[in-house]
């Protein structure tokens, strides 16, 4: 009996919480709808009957809000033939299924728009008139190419840096490396880009790379030439950040109890560094690597803008300047989703990596 009561109580609490959340959303939507109606009709926050509200909003060239509260004559509720014969008016929740914001969010099957923004249909670009869902993959392709080149540079360079840090895990070398990493992490991306263009894409000094833009031919050599400098700068930025994290973690772990005990036992220095120290430092490094994935593969606005690459980053900059809201919304949604996904993935990784410690403590 007691268990049933507890269960009922728990169910009721859950239901109440759920209902409360729904109700809050309702109230907010209705409040917003009424506010819009009040602004359009100039009627303040007073409630108007459906017909009067509709009439006034049509006169103003506005449409009815998606959700609002309006007055309905009690006679209509009671299905009386003459609605003016009764003086009581009851406030009721009203819904307008033809509202354009609702259509934009959820689509309208009657109008042939089966999907809305919530179903990832972002509509058409205001500037070019093309469907956003067609523009995004093109830009994403360029950003992804840039990310791949940067990733290749990182794959070759970071293990070298990491092994050097592990080899000299204490002493002045690590301090100097830390200072260098700090200096590189302090140079903003646009300064780095300008500096790179000035030094390596300048006819007056050294023109190794083109100053920007996409290759005309699609050969790998041409691609590498055009993406070389931006990917080099992007990977430099990422590498500086990862080096800072790596040095901090290695420095911290090098003084941990386990490493001190292994050193005291006289284990081979290489074994301590490249097996035990690496095993202790790797989870945090991988965590930060996962967090950096959206920055690498989903476009860096500044690098892409500086090198005139038509990726996602420069797409959002140009769309923002032209007030092309559908594109801006789509890119923000995509970046947000990717960031959240990577954060969750990184947290899951950290949780998985720490399972041994948890089991040991249990």
């Amino acid at each position: 009996m007691n268990a049933a009561r507890v269960l009922l109580y728990a169910l009721l609490r859950m239901a109440l919480s759920f209902a409360f959340i729904l109700l809050t959303c309702f109230i907010l939507t209705v409040w917003a709808g009424n506010k819009r109606a009040a602004i359009a009709t100039g009627a303040g926050n007073v409630l108007l009957s459906d017909s009067l509200l509709k009439q006034r909003m049509q006169n103003e060239g506005q449409e009815l809000p998606a959700t609002f509260v309006s007055l309905i004559p009690l006679a209509a509720l009671r299905h009386l033939p003459d609605s003016n014969s009764w003086e009581w008016w009851v406030p009721c929740l009203r819904f307008n299924p033809e509202n354009r914001f609702k259509n934009w969010l959820l689509g309208n099957a009657k109008r042939g728009e089966s999907r809305g923004v919530l179903q990832l249909n972002f509509g058409k670009s205001v500037v070019s008139g093309q469907a956003v869902n067609h523009l995004l993959p093109k830009a994403l392709h360029v950003s992804f190419q840039l990310g791949c080149f940067s990733f290749i540079i990182l794959i070759f360079s970071f293990p070298f840096f990491l092994s050097t840090f592990l080899r000299f895990s204490t002493g002045i070398f690590l301090n100097v490396s830390y200072q260098l990493a700090l200096i590189f992490s302090c140079i903003p991306a646009f300064v780095l880009a300008s500096l790179g263009q000035f030094l390596l894409a300048n006819r007056a000094i050294l023109q190794v790379f083109p100053i920007g833009g996409l290759p005309t031919k699609s050969t790998f050599a041409d691609l590498a030439l055009h993406f070389g400098l931006p990917s080099l700068l992007l990977s430099t930025e990422v590498l500086a950040y990862l080096s800072l994290i790596g040095i901090s973690v290695i420095r911290q772990q090098a003084h941990s109890f386990l490493i001190t005990a292994l050193k005291a036992r006289g284990l081979n220095k290489g074994l301590i560094s490249f097996v035990h120290l690496l095993r202790l430092s790797l989870p945090v490094l991988i965590y930060h690597c996962i967090l950096l994935l959206p920055l690498l593969f989903l476009g860096h606005p500044i690098i892409e803008y500086a090198f005139s690459l038509p990726g996602l980053g420069s797409l959002v900059v140009s769309a923002s300047l032209a007030r092309d809201y559908p594109i801006v919304l789509a890119v923000v949604c995509l970046q947000g989703l990717a960031t959240v996904f990577c954060m969750k993935l990184a947290s899951a990784w950290l949780w998985w990596a720490g399972r041994n410690n948890r089991e040991a403590s249990l």
């Binding site: 109580y9 009721l12 609490r13 239901a15 109440l16 919480s17 209902a19 409360f20 109700l23 459906d50 009815l64 509260v69 309905i72 209509a76 509720l77 009671r78 299905h79 009851v90 406030p91 009721c92 929740l93 009203r94 819904f95 307008n96 299924p97 033809e98 301090n175 200072q179 700090l182 200096i183 302090c186 903003p188 646009f190 300064v191 300008s194 500096l195 263009q197 000035f198 894409a201 300048n202 007056a204 606005p301 500044i302 803008y305 500086a306 959002v316 900059v317 923002s320 300047l321 007030r323 809201y325 801006v328 890119v331 923000v332 970046q335 947000g336 990717a338 960031t339 959240v340 954060m343």
Partner: protein
């Protein structure tokens, strides 16, 4: 070595802050002090030099840089090298007092004046952003750290009634969803909803049923994580370009984006303090919450909060510079280090346009980061 670097970082940061604060005294087209009719006047305070006629002989003191950031020297436009010949309207060489010591930009803007005013702009935006982040972070982080759970209670009667009536009300209100015509059940639904809300509002701190425990800490954590997950640069680009924000509004927005950095630090610090003996003693003594917060908890978090604030300061400076580099500032007269670098993109041969602001931005960020990482306090 560490201490020496810290001292250098302090000097560098102090230099830039001083430069930003004293920008109107250092780079201005109006004189600092003028004697007119036997009275001392300070035209630079009101920029009245153009409006009132002042004889040049009456000027007592000029600023060291006789150009403001937005002044255009047409005679020396199109990227004049710092060491090249600079001419006035009559074709004569400019005197030393009126020289452009770091050259000029495309339209004849003085690069040194741009540096000084750009520093002021960055400091202004970063100051506002850090202030807002500090305020929100301390408030929310402190609340989550000191009061991790707040429980609300109600009576059995109102709890059961509100649950049932709320569901019924919502059910009947939903019935009006498909079309927009009068429906008797819509009215019933609305009335039931009103009753449910009234019952629900009978929440009180004591009662037999624990209605809900407001988990401040968990809520704060979720909220902060959500803010951390925001793609800040992309979102800022969109918001700044669409809403055409000015420097003050950008600062406010950045502060709103960066409060979790300070909030999470404050929360963890307060969590530690909450368990200490001296803080428990303040509770046993029955001190008011505000006294516990401001006199006993906050002074012990100042070091970590300082470090987090400097990190936020650096991030805000960087983002503001990035936005102005992309040319997203609302005002055409908005001069910042980022906008100077944006100008430099048009002509890479003019190294004097992008090296000074680049070096300035780098040294400023390096100094702040170094102090943040090593110092914990000045």
């Amino acid at each position: 070595m560490k201490l020496r670097l810290k001292a250098i970082a302090r000097v560098v940061l102090f230099f830039w802050v001083l430069l930003g604060v004293l920008a109107p005294f250092l780079a201005n087209s109006s004189p600092l002090v003028v004697v007119q009719n036997g009275h001392l006047q300070f035209p630079f305070l009101s920029n009245r030099f153009e409006q009132i006629s002042i004889e040049l002989s009456s000027v007592l003191l000029w600023p060291p840089i006789r150009y403001a950031a937005t002044d255009l020297d047409v005679m020396n436009s199109n990227y004049v090298h710092p060491l090249a010949k600079q001419i006035d309207a009559n074709g004569n060489s400019l005197p030393n007092g009126k020289r452009h010591w770091l050259g000029t930009g495309k339209l004849g803007q003085d690069v040194l004046a741009g540096m000084v005013w750009g520093c002021r702009q960055s400091l202004w935006v970063a100051g506002i952003g850090t202030g807002v982040a500090l305020l929100l972070g301390l408030l929310l982080g402190g609340l989550a750290g000191l009061l991790p759970m707040i429980t609300f209670r109600t009576s059995y009667f109102s709890f059961t009634l509100s649950t049932l009536v709320l569901f019924l009300g919502m059910f009947y209100s939903m019935k009006t969803l498909p079309q927009l015509h009068y429906s008797p059940i819509a009215g019933i639904g609305t009335i039931l909803l009103a009753i449910a809300i009234s019952c629900f509002l009978l929440v009180k701190p004591i009662g037999r049923v624990r209605l809900f425990t407001f988990e401040t800490d968990a809520l704060f954590d979720a909220f902060a994580q959500w803010f951390v997950a925001l793609p800040k640069l992309i979102l800022l680009i969109a918001l700044v370009a669409i809403a055409r924000l000015n420097g003050f509004q950008i600062g406010l927005l950045l502060g709103f984006f960066f409060w979790p950095a300070i909030g999470l630090t404050t929360r963890s610090s307060f969590n530690r303090i909450r368990e200490t003996d001296y803080f428990r003693a303040t509770r046993v003594l029955g001190l008011p919450f505000s006294r516990q917060l401001f006199l006993h908890a906050m002074p012990n978090t100042k070091q970590v909060v300082f470090s987090a604030s400097v990190t936020v300061f650096v991030a805000v400076v960087l983002l503001e510079a990035s936005l102005s580099f992309l040319g997203l500032q609302a005002d055409a007269d908005y001069v910042s280090w980022g906008s100077l670098l944006n100008q430099a993109r048009e002509n890479f041969a003019a190294w004097w346009v992008f090296v000074p602001p680049g070096a300035g931005l780098f040294s400023f960020i390096w100094a702040a980061k170094w102090i943040s990482e090593t110092g914990k306090s000045f």
